[in-house]
């Protein structure tokens, strides 16, 4: 069943068309990757779909309902949560409090929320930092915190914008495992990432944006072979390394 359906989405910033007539869909239970050159409009796409920006054209359906133009907080309450590429921790709050803010989306009972947040922290591996202010975390851990906070809102669809940047290959492997475990909880994932070691093995399908337009879609292997994608995005070297 289709969880997210985006039809002909267009988003402009002044004269710049950041998303140009883009259509995508995500099935319930899938992991879908979104890749594309820097500045292709991936983050903008996430922002527009999640209601952070108002679209200039097109429709967004989530869980069978039209949510086009719905503000982001309402979208979140319906079960779609996104993380920010440029992390936005609540710096003066502790790690636990950060995650509790997310968990409050589903309950107002403090003890319940706390337990839920602790569980999520445990899950992402930040439990030992729970009582420290978020400001002092390293960038990678701030990204992990973004992820935890989003998870705490109990989303049906989780949209991750480059939460795995800046990790060593070893850490990347751990992150991929984490994604799998999230997926096992029944959460559908929509992921933007430049690290092919992450995207390629875990995605069921991959979309490619370039210059605001969708240039390709399909299973990862196909995408990796796609001439246009190699030219615009992967580069010959990546291709050669895999080949």
């Amino acid at each position: 069943m289709t969880l997210l359906k985006v039809e002909n989405l267009t988003k402009r910033f002044g004269g710049l068309v950041a998303n140009d007539d883009v259509s995508m869909y995500v099935e319930r239970g899938e992991i879908v990757g979104l890749i594309g050159p820097n500045g292709a409009g991936k983050s903008t796409f996430f922002s527009t779909v999640s209601g952070y920006y108002r679209p200039d054209g097109g429709k967004v359906y989530f869980d069978g309902e039209d949510i086009t133009g719905l503000p982001t907080e309402k979208v979140c309450l319906r079960g779609m949560t996104r993380t920010f590429q440029i992390v936005k921790p609540f710096s003066d709050m502790t790690v636990l409090e950060n995650v509790m803010v997310g968990a409050f989306a589903r309950s107002a009972r403090v003890s319940e929320v706390r337990d839920r947040a602790l569980e999520v922290l445990e899950f992402v591996g930040l439990a030992d930092r729970r009582d420290f202010p978020a400001a002092g975390l390293t960038i990678a851990n701030k990204k992990r915190l973004e992820l935890a906070r989003a998870l705490a809102t109990e989303p049906k669809l989780l949209m991750l914008d480059e939460v795995m940047a800046g990790l060593t290959p070893r850490e990347t492997q751990e992150a991929v495992e984490l994604i799998h475990r999230i997926h096992e909880r029944g959460i559908t994932l929509f992921i933007v990432e430049h690290v092919m070691e992450v995207i390629m093995p875990i995605s069921d399908r991959v979309y490619v944006l370039d210059g605001g337009r969708k240039i390709a879609e399909g299973p990862p292997q196909e995408i990796a072979e796609n001439e246009e994608v190699i030219k615009a995005y992967l580069g010959e070297r990546y291709h050669a390394a895999r080949g």
Partner: protein, 235 residues
């Protein structure tokens, strides 16, 4: 020896993040520094460039004591630091950003010459010189950040995760670029999470763990070591 770092301790709000790190760089070398998240790589670069004051230890650059000096003095001595996250002046144009990079260079003529050279290496920047830096794409911004760092004609260029958040094609380009810059005689200190590429590229490397140097050697030696294989490459 161009840069000699001895036993430095530095951190935030009095809490050390690196504990007695020592390393050195010869003129003309490419040196990589790898390590897990939070190992203190950025902290080391910040200390060398003067953004952080070491609590202990000495830094010698080209024979002169360099620890405790403010960043603007160190730039004048020939150290350039391209920080994590680009840190461009988003509301200024590409060209203004570049000129700011050459702020210490007082001679108009020399500056024009450097600018011309940079534009030759990065033709896209020349094309976009009147665009506001903040409106450029991630890859372009990263190039601008590196170019800006080169504008002061540094003897030592320190790059902090230049490939972060860049698409695969650009990652390849950036590493090639670094190689080219090094070939022109600039000494390079590179911090990277792309452990493999970084170690392949460098002459020598250091491995950092929880604020300490735990291994050093040539790039190939490190790539072959068990430590790096297990802890960083996940093999």
């Amino acid at each position: 020896m161009l840069l000699e770092v001895k036993d430095i301790v530095a951190g935030y709000s009095g809490v050390p993040a690196i504990h007695g790190v020592s390393f050195s760089i010869e003129e003309g070398e490419i040196v990589s520094m790898v390590g897990a998240n939070g190992a203190g790589k950025s902290t080391i670069l910040k200390t060398v460039s003067g953004l952080l004051r070491p609590e202990r230890g000495t830094i010698t650059f080209a024979g002169q004591r360099a620890d405790g000096l403010p960043p603007h003095r160190l730039v004048a001595m020939g150290i350039a630091h391209v920080p994590e996250g680009r840190r461009l002046f988003a509301r200024m144009t590409v060209q203004q950003n570049l000129i700011m990079g050459a702020y210490t260079q007082r001679s108009e003529a020399e500056r024009a010459e450097t600018l011309a050279e940079i534009y030759e290496i990065f033709p896209i920047l020349k094309e976009r010189r009147t665009q506001l830096a903040g409106t450029m794409s991630g890859g372009e911004q990263q190039m601008l950040a590196i170019a800006r760092g080169m504008m002061s004609r540094p003897r030592l260029l320190m790059l902090d995760e230049p490939s972060l958040g860049l698409m695969p094609k650009l990652v390849t380009q950036i590493f090639e670029l670094i190689r080219r810059i090094a070939a022109r005689g600039t000494t390079i200190l590179l911090v990277e999470q792309n452990v493999r590429e970084a170690l392949e590229l460098c002459d020598r490397g250091y491995v950092l763990q929880t604020g300490k140097v735990v291994a050093e050697g040539t790039g190939d030696e490190l790539l072959g070591s068990e430590l790096v294989k297990k802890a960083y490459l996940g093999l």
